[in-house]
């Protein structure tokens, strides 16, 4: 009995430590962000390696909180780095796409092998979203940066509302697949390790899902963000795919959508290795730690912190775009 109490106390201690770590990280990001916004050195006053290191450390922390909060790193990267670092938004968006792409590529193979990402579900949606992401990237690089900042700020604030309000359904009820999904044979079975259950799934409202993915791809290309925040609700709540299949397929779809948009940024000279590579490596290392902390962190607490962080970054992007908070 005593052993049980000690074990519980140790678990509670570990949980507290891990949550305290994430709280500290988030507060550090807030403080650093506010400080950077107020006292950003002139572009030439800090050496290149100082910025590269700061970017790496920021992305490492973002990677840690991105996994437990259930949002992709890209959605945190663009508003935070775009708002508080001296890089032009063109290069931030180019790097943001690569951050999201690298994370999706790293996760994609195991998700496909485990049946949590489904190729038949992903391909039709990814084709449309890839095409529209090209359009989004081209328009994003053609319009003034201040306009993109304002639209980015508005979109991030919209994501905050979506994250705060959206419900999730672990196993949505799909009584009857729609005609299009039947023709395309979009259905499957996966093994749910948590419940040791075989889950059969099918989808409905495929035409509406396809239409929404056109818009999602466009936003991904325009803002250089991964679009998991929008993919998952459409796949899960609209089309009725189980939550785990929605999250896995969403990540896999990003490997195609973000690569299309990334080519446009690369071909237009909007990708700088000195910004993109430290970001990708920092985010991937952070995400590895975040995935390990997943079991001890209280996801709801982390999620609330990330919502607050996004609210702050969204307001910053909006006010920066409007010229109120440069």
């Amino acid at each position: 009995m005593l052993n049980g109490v000690v074990s519980r106390l140790q678990n509670a201690g570990g949980l507290l430590k891990a949550n305290a770590l994430v709280l500290t990280l988030t507060l550090s990001l807030f403080t650093a962000g506010a400080y950077a916004a107020e006292s950003l050195p002139a572009p030439g006053s800090m050496p290149w390696w100082g910025w590269a290191l700061a970017l790496f450390v920021t992305c490492f922390f973002l990677g840690i909180v991105a996994v437990p909060s259930g949002v992709g790193g890209g959605v945190l990267f663009v508003p935070i780095v775009g708002g508080f670092f001296p890089f032009h938004l063109d290069f931030v968006r180019g790097a943001g796409l690569l951050v999201a792409l690298a994370s999706a590529l790293a996760a994609g193979p195991s998700l496909l092998r485990g049946g949590l990402a489904d190729l038949r579900l992903a391909l039709p949606l990814a084709v449309l979203a890839s095409a529209s992401s090209i359009a989004g990237a081209m328009i994003g690089l053609a319009i003034p940066a201040a306009l993109v900042q304002i639209a980015l700020g508005g979109t991030i604030l919209g994501i905050v509302v979506l994250m705060a309000m959206a419900k999730k359904s672990e196993f949505p009820e799909v009584a009857q697949p729609d005609r299009l999904s039947s023709v395309l044979s979009i259905n499957g079975i996966y093994h749910d390790a948590a419940s040791n259950q075989k889950i059969n799934w099918q989808v409905h409202r495929t035409p509406q899902g396809l239409a929404l993915f056109v818009g999602i791809g466009f936003l991904a290309g325009l803002f250089g963000m991964g679009a998991g925040w929008a993919n998952v609700p459409v796949l899960n709540l609209l089309m009725g795919a189980p939550l785990k299949v929605s999250a896995g397929t969403s990540s896999f779809i990003l490997t195609l959508v973000d690569s299309s948009a990334a080519w446009i940024y690369l071909n237009k000279g909007a990708v700088l290795a000195i910004i993109a590579v430290p970001s990708v490596i920092g985010m991937m290392l952070g995400a590895t730690i975040g995935a390990r902390l997943l079991h001890v962190l209280k996801a709801s607490v982390v999620r609330k912190m990330v919502i607050s962080l996004l609210l702050f970054a969204g307001l910053r992007a909006l006010l920066k775009g409007l010229g109120i908070w440069i």
Binding site: H88, L105, S130, V183, L184, L256, W263, A273, I274
Partner: protein, 140 residues
């Protein structure tokens, strides 16, 4: 729903896609890290010295290209011996590795006479190739 022992429900084409994607992602990340190290450690000369980058990265991509004379499209490939462009190799590889994955699953769909998905793969390939080609242009 039913309780089961773990078994695979994953299709042949999905497993093949996963295998190729895994190799593409790993090799891309390796190229990315090595080329970046060559860039920042000075193993390869940089076209724009790293010390000058803080004066450049706050410019829009259009102004940056104008001021540095950096190439657009695939012209960077001819400058890959320079550190700042070598860093783009891994990025291009990671962006392009899905092309191979789409190509290798097409024969499986063809063998099964799943023509709808053959066509979808072809369209996905064409979209990726169009994006990669560099023929789509826009600017500030």
């Amino acid at each position: 729903m039913s309780t089961i022992k773990k078994e695979s429900f994953v299709s042949e084409e999905q497993l093949r896609y996963a295998t190729w994607l895994s190799w593409g992602a790993r090799s891309g990340l390796l190229i990315l890290v090595l080329s970046f190290l060559a860039y920042v450690l000075g193993w390869l000369p940089a076209r724009i010295p790293l010390e000058q980058m803080p004066n450049m990265w706050n410019l829009s991509s259009h102004e940056y290209l104008h001021q540095t004379g950096a190439p657009t499209g695939w012209q960077w490939l001819s400058l890959v011996g320079q550190g700042d462009f070598a860093g783009l190799l891994g990025i291009a590889w990671m962006s392009g590795c899905s092309l191979l994955c789409l190509l290798v699953v097409m024969p499986i769909y063809s063998r099964r006479r799943d023509w709808v998905f053959v066509v979808l793969c072809v369209i996905a390939l064409l979209v990726q190739l169009l994006a990669a080609s560099g023929i789509l242009t826009a600017g500030h």
